[in-house]
Symmetry: C2
Subunit: 224 residues, 2 copies
Amino acid sequence: MSAREQRQVASDAGLSKQRVVTEALRLADREGVHGLSMRRLASALGAGAMSLYHYVANKEQLLDAMIDIVFEEIELPPEQTDWQSAMRRRAVSARRVLACHPWAIALMESRTSPGPANLRHREAVTACLRRAGFSVLMATHANWLLDSYVYGFALQEASLPFDTADELADMTEDVFLPQLPPDEFPYLNESAAALVAAGYDPAEEFIFGLDLILAALEPLRDSA
Amino acid sequence: MSAREQRQVASDAGLSKQRVVTEALRLADREGVHGLSMRRLASALGAGAMSLYHYVANKEQLLDAMIDIVFEEIELPPEQTDWQSAMRRRAVSARRVLACHPWAIALMESRTSPGPANLRHREAVTACLRRAGFSVLMATHANWLLDSYVYGFALQEASLPFDTADELADMTEDVFLPQLPPDEFPYLNESAAALVAAGYDPAEEFIFGLDLILAALEPLRDSA
DNA sequence: ACTACAGGTCGTACACTGTACGATGACTGT
DNA sequence: ACAGTCATCGTACAGTGTACGACCTGTAGT
């Protein structure tokens, strides 16, 4: 059997780095990164725990590979539109992807070396900004600013104990407001009550800050 | 011995929730959250591992308490200045504190219920914004935006493998640029080279985005 | 055809984790 | 003196990452 045939079989039934990492991703999505152990991953793949170490040097490297898969899922900024639309698209995509893989956000803190998909992504974003007329320094500023916003938003979103506006309304009345006595937390109490009364939906929150940042960056094109 | 005397002794030599949590914080600062185990924490306190469970229900609750201590360290927005200066001060403080405790950022993702210091902090920030003339909805927007930026920036900063501008310059030449061939990553390559040539210091990056956000929020006061 | 080797699989073992359970002792109020 | 509470912690158990080495299988060389 040739090497190519063997790899073909591997992608059908046997193990491969691909299969190991994607199954790890599925497991983490389902049970959280806490529930991802080498033994459980192996048994999900119908293999022994130590077999995984033929495709991954150790668990750290497995996590690195998982993060890079997540970056692969994020849309690159499209090239044929204005820079604001392009950056908005990729930011919205990034936020959606990170919301689907909440474990990825916390993991990013400890991984110091970016994977290939991460690099490709950064290259595309930088290209978009530079072609829009931002200087090297301004593009760097914009990169930090936009990424900080996206990651920080995803981080906050991941720590919310509810998913929909309805759940937020229910929890605000049943859980949050009782913890916010008006004499100790007058402003938080007022806000919580007013927001739930107005039918506030945190799903729309992301666009507000994103568009504010994009608009504020606009006049900084073509300047030092 | 009365209860008060006993607590006095406890704060001198014996255990207490205070001592357990603050020592846990020290350990996490020194060795990372990965190096914080109940056994190691106990032995750092000169106690048996199971003794800790008299002051903390479990490790999760210990981590919650640690996060709240971190929030306690963040300066509240001062009341006697304009809103922009106040928010800038607290944002700079938050960033500094999170840089001192990098493990805290990743931990925030999994803790869903805010501690008392966290609540006090949010109350103070909301108060500052509301008194500056932001509506409830706008104050919420501003809160999300500013917090996202601060947390996201801290998250990115924590994953940088260098601390100073000099280290950045060295690593760019020795590590990053070789990984960025100009034909595959023309823009990243250009940026890395140009930034190191210009003596770029990432320590100043934070203020740029922060001031941009504050300036963009300014005209939204006293509007719906 | 027999041997040698290479690559993939995994059983076992070790040091480590969080923590349930129950024993032990010191101190309390009667 | 006695019963009872409270803080301490030894032991044990299930689960973790992974080092080591044994095994099988399929190919290459003679």
